[in-house]
Amino acid sequence: MNTNGIASNPSFGKIFDELFNRSISDIVGTDFTSESPSVNIIETDESFELEVAAPGMTKEDFNILIEKDHLTISGDTKIEESENVATFKRKEYDFKKFSRKFRLPETVDKETVKAKYDLGILKVTMDKTPEAKEKGSRTINID
């Protein structure tokens, strides 16, 4: 994969490491562009927090939809003129258009879903239902 100027370098010196720390795409020679952002889901006693790693967007580009017990997060970015002019020497990601769907557990209170976009991460938080919260952490006293 010749990038004409900037080549991705493995960060380790040894030849063995070099081979094993490369992406398969580097070795095989196919360019693979990631088009679906990665997601983390964090659970606390009170809530669920879903983090979508979608860097380089603005909050207007996102669409969050709750339909029955499914949560769909999609992104749609307007392509800037300047980007069409530029030539890609290497393209490993493109999150301009994506959609990811999740089934919500019953313990989620759908009325409490909130979202925030910061540092390239879309954070969707949802509280657990009061019943689930109670079940989550309860100390039982011994009589």
Partner: protein, 152 residues
């Protein structure tokens, strides 16, 4: 609805729920295999840190490198140029108390290096960090082309 149908519907629902609890959409597997280092694919070890993805465009004699490192603070990222090697790294300790239901990314610790070509003007490399994208502008110097000597 008779009892059998009811039971079937019920089982269907339950089956889905157990299996699909916050289940991510299928499709990231190929992504992950092709974009992660070979040792992570070959071994069964769960992936600890994410290798940041990079785009490079060439525009008017300048290379623009965009590294996707969402969730990382500007202060935690360091960019180093040594000879013709550009290294970008971050070293943040993870909060181990967090309980993850699903973990597809973790950019706390990473290192990615790029080899720059000889015509890069290393003194004028600049960087900015916006919405999880680290953009590094790498200008090139125009090499002196063949010079035509006029015969007087």
């Amino acid at each position: 609805m008779n009892t059998t149908q009811k039971r079937r519907a019920h089982e269907g629902q339950r089956g889905n729920r157990n299996h699909g609890f916050f289940a991510p959409a299928f499709g990231n597997i190929i992504n992950e295999i092709l974009n992660s280092p070979l040792n992570e694919v070959v071994t069964d070890k769960p992936k600890k840190y994410t290798y940041p993805l990079a785009n490079v465009i060439s525009q008017d004699g300048t290379f623009i490198l965009s590294l996707a490192i969402p969730g990382v603070a500007k202060a935690d990222v360091s960019i180093n140029i040594e000879k013709n090697k550009l290294t970008i790294k971050s070293e943040v300790e993870n909060n181990t108390d967090t309980k993850y239901r699903l973990r597809e990314f973790n950019y706390a610790k990473f290192e990615r290096a790029f080899t720059l070509s000889d015509d890069v003007d290393t003194d004028n490399i600049s960087a900015k960090f916006d919405n999880g994208v680290l953009t590094i502008s790498i200008p090139t110097v125009e090499e002196a082309g063949p010079k035509k000597v006029e015969i007087v």
